[in-house]
Symmetry: C2
Subunit: 444 residues, 2 copies
């Protein structure tokens, strides 16, 4: 097609992000066509709710609740899926693919669980499925992994992948308030959902890490393979002591490639609250922002930072995907870059490094009973599992409180040894609550 | 071509970066072909020095000093230009383009001066010219601007674009040593060239900012349009006081779009040492690292960080470009993305905002004569130009020293007013050396 031609876009799911996409397509139509040499035209929108006023104009756009009609509308070249969730979204995407339509989605949950099936269907049909908005919101992190760093053996991907939890952690540190109080405020401000489980328990971050791991290492991995721990157990005292020790606490997604002497590759992947050195770039990522650090064998450490969610940042990524697909569509087919960067035949299931094998220093907070011998018992239980103590501090506590915070920083130890020691201590009667352990990540 | 096919690569310029490219192509051949579905093969290398042992194997590769022979070798599909400089590099690139070869280069100086001519020739021949390594070394910042953020009106690009100067500034701050001492150490460590002019006077950063400005705003701009000030005038006391005021000093490239009420766009672009808030991401970019903050109207602030130079990081970017071109070559042509992101017909000369119009707070250090009335004279000269004083500190100085450091932080003022005041003060006999003024950048 020459200039003046258009590529037709259909949008399924007219919520917050969908509204942002409509805004970007309208308000930035000039710069989009100055870059493409042709126009993107929103031709059809489908949503069950056709009543609510989203505050944007849909002049000349078909708007109804008929998603299937949208998918099969010949004026629609690219289908945007912003319904979310699993079943219906998957059905729409597969229906669009089988109708020969290209797809853009922000649905990390779906791709982390059913990505393989969806990418295979798209490959067979010769259509594109792009999903930049699924990880890191508006940050072009997936493009960077798929293409910008493609000459590297990726060594690690470490990121703050969830804005809600980063907001909660930043506020807990700033105000010294407990998790529940800050979560409630985050919900009032719209930073957290009414049911915050996906965010605060690390599940959303695990979805994203699964996608990043595929792109980084060519590993077929679903998010269910990733050991995941959220931020519910953290208390303001943890932030306070982290600061004294030169750390900040971030919920990190961590993935690393372990290459054995024989060339076999194993993948370490985990989500948990982590102590990061205060001088690291990741430590300075505040509020609802996201950042991902990627290390490659040639490029060394790199970092990508921006808004990880929100109407307009997410729409920025969706429309970038539309532009990439539209260019390829004008050339008559799908793009040449594989969705997970590696050619499908090069993707492989890879062995996982178990969490227990991960070696490092840890911070542990015990709620100790205030009586003689208690400290000695904790120290002995750690020693029994070969976990050395680098430092130990007993904090003073308010009058009348039974439990005394005891903070231990361990020498580097394998995780399973530490966990066994903690299980013994928690069962011993020396503590009044489950001990809280945070891994310290030095290499940032 | 199917699997097992190859794309042939020729390398002109076998220095540090060229050696890195040979290493990446050899050591990462597995991951490159797993991502491409075919191989990149280095078939020919040309350099005037065919004697020095670079410590890499060139088995099966033609290696001689015949660049023109390389360009016209039918086995060479893509020519990498790593000669540097202007005349010869330009001749090689234009010769390769006219021979129908795609080009990868890291030559920011050349592109910042002659990019328009080169891109036009490539467009006419239907070949690609990619140059990711020209800005930010291994950081995929150009790809991010060209594609990842393509749906945005870019509002600003602000970056630490030169690793040498960032290393020098970081060391001056860390050790409290003068510029000359730290520069000498940087030269010994290989972070600075024997002739450091291009780096320390901001010229290299201006080359890079010119390229970024084209991509961000579609502005045809050469680096000669960019007001440029280097770091030679800075003293350790500036770092020390910056810290006390909550800032760090970075050599920034700053470009912003100013959109008038009538829709006309003017571009502000400048290179100078700048006070940045210590809590900003850019303030935490240390040593020889680079980072670029890009703000878009949809995505908000984003940041890209990594090694801005060096053998392997730069090679990572060169090989990423080879991979992109090779994919397109397999499909029979040039890629669909314009080299400066905007279609050539959408690129336009845009008016520049003069430095004098730029409004903001500044830090000024006067070397005042230690006598009554001197402070009053400085204050009066500032007042005369309408520059308000937010704070003024007179530092104690060592015994026997004639000049007294006087530090002023101004209220927001237009730059030309401040400069007029400083010229008057410097000419007045109230100071013993030229005053040092640093703009404070708040919006980071």
């Amino acid at each position: 097609m020459g200039e003046g031609s258009v590529v037709g876009v259909g949008l399924i799911g007219f919520g917050t992000i969908g509204t942002g996409v409509v805004k970007v397509l309208a308000e930035n139509a000039d710069v989009i066509s100055e870059r493409l040499g042709f126009s993107l035209k929103l031709v059809r929108v489908a949503d069950l709710d056709t009543e609510t006023d989203r505050g944007v104009s849909l002049d000349g756009v078909v708007f109804d609740s008929n998603a299937s009609g949208l998918i099969h509308d010949p004026a629609v070249d690219i289908v945007i899926e912003l319904v979310g969730g699993y079943d219906i979204a998957k059905r729409f995407i597969l229906e669009a693919i089988s109708a020969g339509k290209h797809v853009v989605t922000a649905n990390k949950a779906l791709l982390a669980l059913h990505g393989k099936e969806i990418f295979k269907a798209a490959d067979a049909q010769g259509v594109d499925v792009l999903f930049e908005a699924a990880v890191g919101g508006g940050i072009p992190i997936l493009r960077s992994l798929r293409e910008g760093l493609a000459a590297n053996h990726i060594q690690s991907v470490v990121g703050i992948l969830n804005g809600t939890t980063n907001f909660v952690l930043t506020e807990m540190e700033r105000c010294g308030e407990p998790f529940e109080v800050v979560l409630k405020r985050a919900q009032e401000l719209g930073y957290a959902e009414a049911d915050p489980t996906f965010d605060v328990d690390g599940i959303d971050a695990a979805h994203k890490l699964a996608l990043l791991t595929g792109m980084a290492f060519g590993a077929e991995l679903t998010f269910e393979d990733i050991p995941t721990e959220g931020i519910r157990n953290l208390a303001p005292i943890d932030m306070e002591i982290a600061g004294e020790l030169g750390f900040r606490i971030k919920l990190l997604g961590i993935a690393r490639a372990h290459r054995g002497a024989g060339g076999e590759e194993r993948i370490e992947a985990r989500i948990h609250p982590t102590m990061v050195p205060i001088s690291s770039m990741l430590a300075n990522v505040d509020a609802a922002m996201n950042a991902v650090e990627v290390r490659g064998d040639a490029v060394g450490p790199t970092l990508y930072y921006g808004a990880g969610a929100g109407e307009m940042p997410t729409a920025s990524a969706v429309v970038a995907d539309l532009m990439e697909i539209a260019r390829e569509k004008q050339r008559g087919g799908a793009g040449p870059v594989s969705p997970l960067s590696y050619r499908p035949e090069a993707l492989a299931q890879k062995s996982l490094v178990s969490l227990g094998e991960v070696r490092g220093r840890s911070y542990v907070r015990f709620s100790a009973v205030d009586r003689p011998g208690c400290l000695a018992g904790i120290a002995a239980a750690l020693a029994e599992e070969g976990v050395g103590i680098e430092s130990l501090v007993q904090r003073s506590t308010g009058a009348g409180l039974a439990d005394v915070p005891v903070i231990v920083v361990t020498h580097p130890a394998e995780d399973h040894a530490l966990r066994r020691a903690l299980a013994n201590i928690d069962a011993s009667g020396a503590v009044t609550a489950t001990s809280v352990a945070l891994r310290i990540e030095e290499e940032l």
